[in-house]
């Protein structure tokens, strides 16, 4: 099957500012793809190009088999979008806005809309002017998730939602995925992406620095170990692949490259392990590692 989204060598400049600098991204059909990166990395810019709102300076972009700029209208029939900062018409009610946006997309599934309004605990009769930030976000979410589309493009869609609503969102996206739809989910909330995403792409400074399944990315990276031992641990620094070792009286923590994990744990056993916690790298660590490598290279 052809991928839902293929982007290669994407460049976007705003006057002198270079927002995207040769970005590559592939989103396969039917997957939830996490799109991660620090502030200003270029996530929203990429998404705005995918939506045909902004024109690429150079590079190729294919979305659902079409050109997002030239075929914008036809493509938008098959996708729905939620931005991270939702602005609504102040003198329309939330319910009106959901309908307007739904109709603009070509009609809305009434039953699904009512169900989502209930699940997100939204009062659709309030004027948009009086909604809190989270409630504005819910309006856009309901309208997008109620749409019968192949692709959902979500740009930090849960910014401002409380943890309960965040959980509802996770459920709904899981259902969407089960229904075979494709989701591009940009986020800072790493836990959200970890549970939902099949694959992720990490962007930084307008380039993709990593892409693949979480398992594969973790394999490439370090495991963090914290242990308590009977006698103080020595000689860790001399082991290959061990980083950031910190030893206290009877406790030690360090991170270790995947291929040296075995040797490191063996070394520990010689000091009498009392407890051992190991956790795979979080996405924060994935990102941090990239900063470190780049800083080291610079």
């Amino acid at each position: 099957m052809t991928p839902a989204i293929t982007v290669s060598g994407l460049v976007k400049t705003f006057g002198p500012a270079r927002a995207l600098d040769g970005l590559d991204l592939t989103v396969n059909t039917g997957e939830v793809h996490g799109f991660l990166g620090p502030n200003g990395a270029g996530k929203s810019t990429t998404i705005r190009i995918l939506l045909g709102l902004v024109r690429a300076t150079s590079g190729t972009v294919r979305l659902l088999g079409g050109d997002p700029w030239a075929d914008a209208v036809a493509l938008h029939r098959r996708l729905a979008y939620v931005p991270g900062d939702v602005e609504l018409w102040p003198n329309l009610t939330g319910g009106e806005v959901i309908d307007v946006l739904g109709r603009l997309r070509g009609g809305i599934d009434e039953r699904r809309k009512r169900e989502l309004i209930e699940r997100f605990e939204l009062d659709p009769r309030k004027k948009a002017r009086t909604y809190s930030k989270g409630n504005r976000q819910k309006v856009a979410l309901v309208s997008a998730l109620a749409a019968d589309v192949e692709l959902l493009i979500l740009d930090e869609p849960t910014s401002g939602l409380d943890p309960l609503m965040e959980a509802v969102f996770q459920q709904v996206v899981a259902e969407v995925k089960a229904a075979g739809r494709t989701v591009l989910l940009s986020s800072h909330i790493l836990a959200q992406v970890e549970t939902l995403a099949d694959r992720i792409t990490i962007v930084r400074d307008g380039r993709a620095v990593e892409s693949g399944t979480l398992a594969r990315l973790r394999h490439l990276t370090r495991t963090t170990i914290a242990a308590e031992t009977a006698s103080p641990v020595t000689g860790l620094d001399r082991l290959p692949g061990v980083h950031r070792a910190r030893a206290g009286a009877g406790s030690v923590s360090f991170s270790v490259d995947a291929e040296h994990l075995d040797a490191a744990v063996r070394h520990l056993t010689t000091f009498g392990i009392r407890s051992l916690v190991s956790h795979p790298p979080t996405l924060e660590e994935l990102m941090l590692r990239h900063y470190e490598t780049e800083e080291a290279a610079a």
Partner: protein, 537 residues
């Protein structure tokens, strides 16, 4: 939502979604647009009544009025005058007030189109809309369709009103059409300016500048020849007047309006189809990384936030002042009854000084209403959460607005005086006109204090009420005498108390009273602001 559900047809035409956008715009403007149209239409009989009371009684009065209207002074303001051979009250009505109707129609269209195009982009709502099945130019198209519909209704109702005041059927229709044509040209102008700047206010300002130039060219052309000289034909407002309603009704000049509107719309589409959503013609340049040292007090912040507005207004005032002042020399001295014995150039300058004060009032209201926007959009929160009190925030913002008022009136007065001095060779005019302009500070301060009071007492209504006060005060002050409005009503206008002429007239009592009123209103606003809840975004 009253619109029925409609599934756009398949295919991806660029205009897909226009129908839905039109319905959305009508829903959003269900009060605003009818009010605009009805107010403009209602002024037809109102002005006619004024015209009858001005000229009807005797043939002598009619002859006097004709002389008045043919004077260069009036020609600049309202000209030209067609059909002077056989004056009727209907013709007098057109000669005196047609331009006002054309300006109102143009303004209605500029505000409407900007509101549904650039303002939507800047707010971020257009992003949600454009990500749906909506073609790139659909929002622009919808704005123009709504403008066209509004203009059509305006034309019809204005024609009915004109018929009711004794226009021939053909003349009444042509009068309505002339308003719609001017409206459509400026809808198209706004469609272009909306593509050029990032902020809706900039787009409105640019379109307003075009409108002013059109008004000016029409005035200058009227000076060139009674029926309109070559400059006149450069003005879209002038084309509407060249239909010569009731003086040989001709439709063809409206063809020029249609042509220009079509060209401008085509230009707007070309620009809109090419650019990024939310982008201006030129990309924003990076600014400084640190705040300058002087930016450390609430007052400094208030001035910094208003800097761009103050500078662009000052530039516009400088240009406008020079041009209007430069016309002084061309004002011939005639036997106008209302200015009998007066120095005609100075009478013109007095009126222009007053006009400057009215526009400075517009700036003042915008500047104060900014506070409301800051509050609602959550920009005031971080400032007020710090050690800045509400009084300091409110007071220093108002002080910044007041300083801007003084600066603008100074710039305008000096420019107007310099223009007048250049055209008449009388150098004393610079100081004289500048001083006359500065003397109007108190009334503008009251205009500034009105929204300030409302901000404290009735924040939700502040915008509408402040514009209503400004509009009505200006209207009554300018036209009260012509319209024979009752004395108490005229006196209720903030702008009726400082004399316009002679230029050197001082009014110490009124000055003190107005300053006191401004202070009291400001105090009231602060009182309200300290007691009410702040609105959040």
């Amino acid at each position: 939502m009253t619109a029925t559900s409609s599934r756009p047809r398949d295919g991806g035409g660029p205009l897909t979604g226009t129908g839905a956008m039109v319905r959305l715009a009508l829903r959003r403007d269900r009060l605003r647009l009818p009010i605009w149209v009805l107010v403009v239409v209602a002024l037809v009989p109102r002005f006619y009544y004024a015209a009858t009371s001005a000229v009807v009684p005797t043939p002598q009065a009619l002859a006097d009025a004709t002389r008045l209207i043919r004077a260069s002074f009036m020609r600049v303001l309202a000209g030209p005058f067609f059909g002077a051979e056989a004056v009727t009250t209907q013709k007098y009505f057109l000669a005196a007030y047609w331009v006002e109707f054309l300006l109102a129609a143009a303004l209605m269209n500029i505000l409407l189109v900007t509101r549904h195009t650039r303002a939507e982009e800047q707010s971020g709502r257009a992003e949600l809309v454009r990500a749906a099945v909506v073609g790139r130019p659909a929002q622009l198209t919808a704005a123009l369709v709504v403008a066209a519909a509004g203009n059509a209704v305006l034309a019809l109702l204005a024609a009915v009103a004109a018929g009711a005041i004794g226009f021939t059927a053909g003349g009444a229709l042509l009068f309505g059409a002339s308003l719609a044509a001017a409206g459509m040209v400026f809808a198209a102008v706004a469609a272009v300016t909306a593509q050029l700047t990032e902020h809706p206010r900039g787009a409105t300002g640019l379109a307003g500048a075009v409108l002013f130039v059109a008004w000016l060219l029409r005035g200058a052309g009227s000076l060139q020849a009674e029926q309109g000289g070559p400059l006149f034909w450069l003005s879209p407002i002038g084309w509407s007047q060249q239909t010569r309603v009731l003086a040989g009704d001709r439709w063809w000049p409206l063809g020029l309006s249609v042509l220009l509107a079509a060209l401008l719309v085509a230009a707007a589409y070309a620009l809109a189809g090419r650019r990024d959503l939310g982008a201006a013609l030129v990309a924003a340049r990076p600014g400084t990384a640190c705040a300058p040292v002087w930016l450390r007090s609430p007052l400094a912040l208030a001035l910094r936030l208003r800097r761009a507005a103050i500078v662009s207004w000052a530039a516009a005032f400088l240009a406008v002042g020079l041009v209007l002042g430069g016309m002084t020399g061309a004002m011939s001295v005639t036997d106008l009854p209302i200015f009998a014995g007066a120095d005609f150039g100075r009478a013109w300058l007095g009126l222009m000084v007053f006009t400057g004060s009215l526009y400075t009032g517009v700036h003042a209201v915008l500047s104060v209403l900014r506070l409301r926007a800051e509050e609602v959009r959550g920009l005031a929160g971080p400032v007020l959460a710090g050690p800045t009190s509400r009084r300091a925030w409110f007071g220093s913002s108002l002080l910044a607005s007041a300083l801007a008022v003084v600066a603008l009136l100074t710039v305008y007065g000096v420019a107007l005086g310099a223009g007048a001095a250049l055209s008449t060779g009388d150098g004393r005019l610079v100081a004289e006109v500048a001083w006359a302009s500065l003397r109007r500070v108190p009334e503008v301060l009251v205009l500034l204090a009105v929204p300030a009071a409302l901000l404290g007492l009735a924040p939700r209504a502040a915008g509408a009420a402040a514009w209503a006060v400004l509009g009505c005060s200006g209207f009554v002050a300018v036209l009260g005498a012509y319209l024979r409005l009752p004395g108490p009503l005229v006196n209720a206008s903030v702008l009726s108390h400082l004399p316009w002429h002679p230029l050197e007239a001082a009014a110490p009592v009124a000055t003190v009273v107005l300053l006191g009123l401004a202070a009291a209103l400001t105090g009231l606003g602060l009182y309200g602001l300290r007691r009410r809840d702040l609105s959040t975004g």
